[in-house]
């Protein structure tokens, strides 16, 4: 019986959102929801498996912006406040449900318990920095940690600007080393965005592999020998692993995926919207901005507005069914595919980590069941891309095709009618940053800090999140404002430097606001200086 290897990559990423100037800031909740609903429960699950001796190996990518936020004392404090506020809400909910809605009482208790566990682990186990937990899993040999572009920029749209791509990758590696004390071996391509030649930048940073969209290999200009069931080596020797759309779609599809099962918890029904304002006001955002609180009592049920109450036991049964179905599908696929190959098949599954727990409430339980069952099976194993490359160091040499995992498979999502205007300004900012780096190389003291801030602003403006959010039409005002702010801030430096001046007051304020990338070196936008570095 052929062995089927699954290479799971989870990409943990959040855009850099930090507003200490406000007592509470709505968009900071994105991070807090991800920590509370995905990262902490995922850590809990992976450590439990490790402690029980269940064998597994997976790859996780942590974006540098997320790492910066997770280790930022201000955001750590604000996450604690967020948990305490929700703990208080949980206690009120227990009392309210006891009084008015007894069917929901076990659910309120379940959520409160989860908040209490999060609080306890956040303080006692991780001392407020959960990155230590993932580092520990890497040290024990269960997780390979890799990096992604510094601000998760969608790279194909910057192929004209080698300095900007280089900066995104060089800074990402530097940030990874700072946070995890190891050089990353792999790179998550933001949005699976690939253009031929991108591997050259990765090679410079000693990155051995990256993941690709499912169609990248079949659409190459030479025939691929092993389909998506083995990596390919780009002409420079960096390996590309293409996603298996068939297996991915069992999990990540809003039409066919497991998360759409009617027994699973409904994401969009939340007491933040359902309960009267007088009751919920202090747990939402001022003045009366209803938001998710995490207390959700309904199952998906169907498409209509009438929803059944959520039953965790029913959902748990479905989790087991779906985990078994997934492994059965892998087994069946192996039966069909293995005879066509000259080596054991490798299936690349690449997801945003936040799908598990946050978007799909039962997703972490499902993953746990899959990992446990795979460990007991004799034909499915979870191994990492690096494990596979050790077993099979030789791969077909092939240049993958331009691709992304966005709608249509190319760059349309990030260049649609509502967001394409941003590139006029982004490209100009990159050109001006290059100009500054060439005109003012190797500065020290205030000028160096001023130029470093300019580089920070350009990179933050390049985040793929802003055009994506504008494309989706959700929170687009915030995304647009962030873009304008970063570009406007960059222009402050540019205009001052053109007059050979430094606006010190502005600089101090900006550095305090954006503490991301403390070791940034603006000279990375001067490719000549970088070439000397690599050649020297």
């Amino acid at each position: 019986m052929a062995r089927n290897s699954i290479g799971l990559i989870l990409n943990a990423h959040m855009p850099y959102v930090r507003h200490p100037e406000y007592p509470r800031f709505l968009e900071e909740d994105w991070l807090f929801e991800a920590i509370g609903e995905t990262y902490l429960p995922l850590l809990r699950m992976l450590r439990r498996l490790r402690d029980e001796g269940v064998p597994f190996r997976i790859t996780m990518s942590f974006s540098p912006t997320l790492c910066s936020m997770l280790s930022d004392p201000i955001l750590q404090g604000r996450f604690t406040d967020y948990l305490r506020l929700h703990q208080e809400l949980g206690e009120r909910e227990m009392a309210r449900c006891q009084r008015e809605e007894q069917e929901c009482l076990p659910l309120a208790k379940m959520y409160l318990n989860s908040i209490n566990t999060n609080l306890q682990e956040y303080f006692e186990t991780y001392q407020c920095n959960i990155l230590t937990g993932f580092r520990d899993l890497e040290e024990s040999g269960h997780v390979d940690l890799i990096t992604t572009a510094a601000t998760h920029a969608y790279l194909p749209l910057y192929s004209e600007y080698p300095s900007a791509i280089n900066a995104q990758i060089e800074l990402a590696v530097q940030s990874h080393i700072n946070h995890f004390k190891r050089r990353p071996k792999g790179f998550w391509l933001p949005e699976c965005g690939y253009f031929p030649g991108l591997e050259d930048y990765l090679q410079k940073e000693e990155l051995a592999f990256f993941q690709l969209a499912a169609q990248s290999l079949i659409l190459a200009d030479q025939p691929v020998e092993r389909g998506n069931y083995a990596p390919v080596a780009c002409p420079n020797g960096v390996f590309g692993f293409a996603r298996d759309f068939h297996l991915t779609n069992l999990v990540w599809s809003n039409a066919e995926g497991y998360p759409t099962d009617s027994n699973y918890r409904e994401f969009y029904r939340d007491i933040g919207y359902d309960l009267p304002l007088d009751y919920i006001r202090q747990y939402i955002h001022a003045p009366e901005v209803r938001v998710f609180t995490g207390f959700k009592y309904y199952a998906i049920t169907g498409k209509g507005n009438d929803k059944r109450f959520y039953h965790p036991e029913r959902a748990a049964r479905k989790v087991q069914e779906h985990a078994a179905n997934f492994l059965y599908s892998v087994h069946q696929k192996g039966e069909k595919v293995a005879p066509l190959l000259d080596r054991e098949p490798f299936y690349t599954l690449a997801f945003d980590a936040e799908l598990f727990g946050h978007w799909w409430f039962e997703g972490i339980d499902w993953l746990e069941a899959v990992l446990r069952n795979a460990a007991k099976s004799n034909d499915v194993v979870f191994e990492t891309q690096l494990d596979y490359l050790k077993r099979y160091p030789e791969s077909q040499v092939l240049q993958p095709s331009l691709s992304s995992w966005g709608e249509g498979g190319y760059s349309d999502v990030w260049t649609d009618g509502v967001n394409v205007w941003i590139y006029r300004h982004l490209h100009k900012a990159i050109e001006r940053m290059e100009e500054l780096a060439i005109r003012f190389p190797d500065q020290s003291s205030l000028k160096q800090r001023f130029l470093n801030q300019a580089a920070r602003e350009v990179l933050l403006a390049m985040a793929s999140d802003w055009p994506f959010i504008i494309h989706n039409g959700t929170s687009s005002s915030y995304a647009e404002k962030r873009l304008r702010d970063h570009l406007g801030n960059f222009n402050v430096v540019y205009e001052n430097m053109c007059k050979n001046a430094v606006n010190t007051e502005w600089l101090v304020k900006s550095e305090k606001r954006d503490i991301v990338f403390p070791d940034i070196d603006y000279n990375m936008f001067n490719l000549n200086s970088r070439r000397n570095r690599y050649n020297g």
Partner: protein, 245 residues
């Protein structure tokens, strides 16, 4: 204008938005009536937005969060520090070409005021056009073909249809005066459209069951949906045609 996907909202959410939008009787209307009232209102707002995106009658721009619930953007956006204005263009004569997908590219450009002045001095009237140049991937410096697209003097961007896969494209901005004189103002960097081996070898793919299985078994979902990609669709359509034939 940003509008929520109101069909997906609960009654409580719909009432909340309706109240915010100033719809009378929001509290007593049922779901269907609320949907209808909101839809009507959004359509009316949309029709009040002119072609250039400006609003021709006053209404409050709503901000819809990822939660799909609206709140007045002025409550928060206005108080956030440092909302920046960006220039409409930059003082340079320059054109860029962004590849959206193998079939379309987006060009954006600016013409500096000095160049405009020079053109105005030399001719009473002039216009602009884009020249899209097509090159072989192997011989980038040799123009194989080209076509022109007329644009107005106020245009600063254009979506360009790319006729062939596996080719290299550049776009240049030109002026044309009333005497028929033309000249190039600027030219973009090149972009290359991908081409697939299988588009040119679809017969071989149709005859090779092993290859077909190996390639497509990871690209089609359990429900029979193929990964969404126009080039891949082209391969499959060609294959269907050949096999059908």
């Amino acid at each position: 204008m940003i509008t929520p996907n109101i069909d997906a909202l609960s009654l409580v959410e719909l009432r909340y938005i309706a109240r915010k939008q100033g719809i009378d009787d929001a509290e007593v209307l049922d779901r269907e009536d609320l949907l209808e009232a909101l839809q009507e209102m959004y359509e009316e707002m949309e029709s009040n937005i002119s072609g250039d995106g400006s609003v021709s009658s006053p209404f409050t721009q709503q901000r819809f969060m990822n939660t799909l619930v609206a709140h007045d953007s002025n409550d928060t956006m206005g108080t956030l520090p440092g909302v920046q204005c960006l220039p409409e263009g930059y003082s340079e004569t320059r054109i860029h070409l962004l590849l959206k997908n193998p079939y379309w590219a987006h060009a954006f450009w600016s013409v500096c005021s000095t160049d405009i002045m020079k053109l105005e001095q030399s001719s009473a009237s002039f216009s602009f056009f884009l020249r899209v140049s097509i090159h072989e991937a192997s011989e980038r410096n040799l123009e194989a073909d080209s076509f022109d697209v007329d644009v107005s003097r106020t245009d600063t961007s254009w979506n360009i249809n790319l006729p062939e896969r596996g080719r290299v494209y550049s776009v240049s901005l030109h002026y044309k005066d009333t005497d028929g004189n033309t000249g190039r103002l600027c030219i973009s960097d090149t972009v290359e459209t991908p081409k697939s081996y299988w588009l040119d070898h679809v017969d071989a793919l149709g005859k090779d069951e092993r290859q077909f299985s190996l390639l497509f078994s990871s690209l089609v979902s359990k429900g029979g949906n193929m990964v969404e990609n126009p080039l891949l669709r082209e391969v499959v359509e060609l294959l269907d045609e050949r096999l059908g034939g």
